[in-house]
């Protein structure tokens, strides 16, 4: 087990180096740069920009900049943002809560709703309900998240005026209810794709479980449907879903980025776009690395949890 974890972590490290190399190359080889934003300031001159660039070390050869960055990264120094001079980890940290809140709520929605639909479809397979859900899931997977967000804003904020069109809370209010009101639309929009994915996988997983011996045994013992459903089927069908949750992380993270844009949600996606706009390389790199790490750890954790729940799975 320990050996497995170390080897997985080792592989992940190599992956991270590759990721960082690609990211850094893409960002720094491109034209433009973090000082462009000052170009239009009154009185800003080419000379002054060159001077600032030299002070920030931006005139050094790229490989030197890369290895310097990597060397600091290894000892836990992710650099400082070009925009506000804060450590990158602090910058990311200050946006983490908003993203986790959004992703967490969306996951709760998609897991509960998706599982319910999946189990119901499995139990009623072949019925009109099952097919409708199958088709709906496929359509849901095909709708662009941001467009769904726009339509939701149009309907619920602009036309009906029920919910706010953006932001995480009202400054000066910030009560739980206020957060909730702001959270509903983006979370539902973000959950849409995942509800579809979960319902499909849950359906498959439930069908596998239904046909297994212990369910038949339970049924033969004359246990009630409800008891069988909740004691045996639901629990066991959820096991493979843990892996799915891990695998879905990059999708949810990417979706969060787009959703945050539409709903002006102050999370990591918003930060990423802002940082891209200002060519704030340290933060962009930090976010790329953080999301890659999050995804790798998510996958690893999912595998480990499955192994713990289900002793039949042997790691190595």
């Amino acid at each position: 087990m320990l050996r497995y974890i170390t080897s997985r972590l080792g592989q992940s490290l190599i992956l991270l180096v590759i990721v960082s190399f690609i990211g850094f190359a893409v960002l720094t080889l491109a034209p433009g740069g973090p000082l462009s934003q000052f170009a239009l300031s009154p009185g800003m001159t080419q000379e002054q920009i060159a001077k600032i660039a030299a002070q920030m070390g931006l005139d050094r050869p790229l490989p030197v900049q890369y290895f310097d960055w990597l060397r600091h990264l290894v000892v836990g120094d992710w650099g400082t943002s070009y925009r506000d001079g804060q450590p990158v980890l602090a910058v990311i940290g200050s946006h983490l809560f908003a993203t986790l809140l959004l992703m967490g709520t969306a996951t709760v929605i998609s897991v509960s709703l998706g599982s319910a639909i999946g189990i119901a479809s499995a139990l009623r397979r072949g019925t009109a309900f099952d097919y409708t859900m199958a088709v709906l899931a496929m359509v849901a997977l095909s709708i662009p998240t941001f467009w769904f967000g726009l339509i939701a804003i149009y309907a619920f904020s602009l036309q009906l005026g029920w919910l706010p069109a953006g932001n995480m809370y009202t400054v000066g209010d910030g009560s739980v209810l206020d957060y909730l009101r702001h959270l509903i639309l983006p979370a539902v929009v973000l959950a849409l794709v995942d509800v579809a994915v979960w319902s499909r996988y849950m359906r498959t997983s439930t069908l596998t479980v239904i046909n297994q011996d212990f369910v038949r045994t339970a049924r033969a013992k004359g246990l009630t449907r409800r008891r069988i459903l909740f004691r045996h089927i639901v629990g066991n069908s959820l096991v493979p879903m843990v892996t799915l949750a891990g695998l879905q992380l990059p999708t949810v993270l990417g979706g969060a980025l787009v959703t945050e844009t539409v709903f002006t949600w102050p999370g990591m996606g918003r930060l990423f776009l802002d940082s891209l706009g200002y060519s704030d390389y340290p933060v962009v790199m930090g976010l790329l690395m953080a999301s890659a790490i999050l995804v790798l750890l998510g996958n690893l954790a999912a595998d480990l949890i499955v192994a713990l729940i289900d002793p039949r799975i042997l790691l190595d």
């Binding site: 925009r83 602009l158 932001n167 102050p266 999370g267």
Partner: protein
């Protein structure tokens, strides 16, 4: 120049007059000293929204417009411009002029008297040493400073006493006062023992002398300020000031409408919402001029733009009225020059733009530009085809671009649109004049001073080996000569004809096709008072000390 004469001319931006003319300025009614007015207890909270996020809190470091929104709350400059272009004192006892002996007659010796009894937010007394420190830090080669213009002439800064400061200038430089007006003073003691001033803790926890104390920042969302009850001027009247970051103009407008935002700041209400906004109950919506002008800038090193007839024809084929009236809902004002119409130096007698496709075609025919088989004009192997670039995602500008692309086609000119994200657009592509043509909004002035050497002096073009902002690569020896003359003169009435002539020459040469001067649609709740547009300042909070809620 007599006192009397000066007073007659004291209309708009006579800012610089104070330096040379013997004028004594009546104290402005804004920004009064605390001693003059009873200060009620600050009360209430106000939320001001910006569509960009302020992130740089050390005002001497490179920053953008929106960051200055925070500076005016937390810091003070020595003195500042009021909406009419006059200086009013803030940290100084009086604005230095030749008349009051603050500036020597040759403009080389400066003496500044500071207000006594001013304290920093942490209680430390504010002294001349702080001003000296701020000015010297700006010149420090190891410090990432925002500007060098003007400062390179400054030397021998001496704190004579706690309230008096002197320095010398190696050359007379008229725009220096305007530069000082946007130099915010920071505390020396916050940098005691700090090795690298670029990363001082102060940079994220600013301490100023301004009307509000920096309380806390929720990154990506808002910054909270609380009233500085020991403020040395009248105000502040608000207990809490919130600067909120709302990255989307539509959301910002919706929140203004719903009342979540009290004052709608930078980037303001988009022109398509003006009609509706004006009818909103309980809101004040006002159009305010800004010093920025929109133009189609031409790269004067490109063969397509060498012939003056081409530039004239392009300008004639530009349907400015449709762009302004239809796309911008008639909000901005058409202009023929880079100088804001509110300026004392504005030249009102420039030839008026005339839109005529026929005349433009005739002009090009006459100049020998013949249409080829593809309908594109050509002369001596040069095709009238070029790219036009601007910031990708600026929707109104992109619409204008596509619109003139189509009208230019009617005179046999092919425009290819090639837009970039901001970091690419305004990087080397702009600075090193790699573009053919651009659509750009520029403010060439420092405050109310008319000097624009950085933008139009031939030696200021990076692509021609210069180091300024003359990215159109414009060169005209006469303009060079006038610009030098203008910057060395301290007398507004002498400078006025110089800068009016420059505007005339540039209007004839057309290194850029002027489209309009910006107008911003500002809005606030009707129970908010004190918000006042100021064309000489880049940001709304210039007088946040006076803002009130009733």
């Amino acid at each position: 120049m007599t006192e009397k004469k000066n007073a007659t001319f004291m209309n708009r931006r006579q800012a610089i007059s104070l330096l040379g003319a013997a004028g004594v300025m009546a104290p402005a009614m804004i920004g009064r000293d605390k001693a003059f007015a009873a200060n009620a207890d600050p009360s209430g909270q106000l939320t001001l929204a910006f569509s960009q996020e302020p992130t740089v809190f050390n005002p001497l470091m490179p920053h953008i417009e929106v960051d200055e929104g925070v500076y005016y709350a937390v810091f003070d400059p020595l003195f500042d411009f009021d909406p009419d272009g006059n200086f009013f004192p803030i940290l100084v006892a009086e604005v230095p002029t030749v008349a009051n002996g603050g500036i020597s007659a040759d403009g080389l010796q400066w003496k500044v008297k500071l207000k006594p009894g001013v304290t920093w937010h942490d209680g430390t007394p504010f002294t001349a040493e702080d001003v000296k420190f701020s000015l010297e830090l700006t010149m420090d080669p190891d410090f990432r400073s925002f500007r060098s213009t003007g400062y390179k002439f400054m030397q021998n800064i001496t704190a004579v006493s706690d309230t008096e400061l002197t320095w010398e200038m190696s050359e007379p430089f008229a725009p220096m006062a305007a530069i000082l007006a946007s130099t915010y003073i920071i505390p020396k003691h916050a940098f005691d023992g700090v090795a690298d001033k670029n990363t001082a803790p102060f940079n994220n926890a600013p301490i100023g002398t301004g009307p509000f104390k920096f309380k806390q920042r929720m990154a990506g969302d808002h910054i909270e300020f609380e009233a500085n009850t020991d403020y040395h001027m009248d105000g502040p009247y608000l207990k809490t000031l919130i600067i909120k970051y709302v990255p989307d103009l539509n959301v910002m407008y919706t929140q203004f409408k719903s009342g979540d935002i009290d004052v709608i700041g930078l980037q303001y209400i988009s022109p398509d919402h003006l009609g509706e906004a004006e009818k909103l109950p309980g809101k004040v919506v006002k159009l305010a001029g800004a010093a920025t002008f929109e133009s189609i800038g031409l790269n004067m090193t490109k063969p397509q733009f060498q012939d003056p007839a081409v530039r004239k024809a392009l300008y004639m084929a530009l349907d400015k009225a449709s762009i302004i009236d239809a796309l911008y809902y008639g909000v901005p004002k058409p202009t023929e020059t880079y100088m804001p119409q509110q300026s004392f130096y504005y030249n009102p007698d420039l030839p008026k733009h005339e839109f005529s496709i026929e005349k433009a075609n005739a002009l090009l025919d006459e100049a020998g530009w013949k249409k080829g088989a593809d309908g594109i004009r050509e002369k001596d192997g040069v095709k009238l085809a070029f790219t036009n670039s601007t910031t990708a995602g600026n929707h109104l500008r992109e619409q204008a671009q596509q619109f003139f692309q189509q009208t230019f086609e009617q005179i046999g000119v092919k425009v290819t649109i090639k837009n970039f994200p901001p970091a690419v657009m305004w990087g080397d592509y702009w600075m090193n004049s790699e573009f053919d043509s651009v659509v750009v909004g520029l403010n060439c002035l420092a405050g109310a001073d008319p000097d624009t050497s950085d933008y139009f002096m031939s030696t200021m073009s990076p692509i021609r080996g210069g180091s300024g902002q003359n990215t159109f690569a414009y060169q005209n020896p006469k303009v060079d000569e006038l610009l030098v003359k203008g910057a060395a003169s301290f007398v507004p009435e002498e400078r006025k004809p110089i800068y009016q002539e420059i505007q005339q020459i540039i209007r004839d040469d057309l290194p850029f096709l002027p489209v309009f001067q910006y107008a911003l649609i500002k809005g606030w709740k009707s129970d908010v008072s004190g918000v006042e547009p100021n064309v000489n300042n880049r940001i709304d909070t210039w007088n946040v000390r006076d803002w009130k809620r009733s």
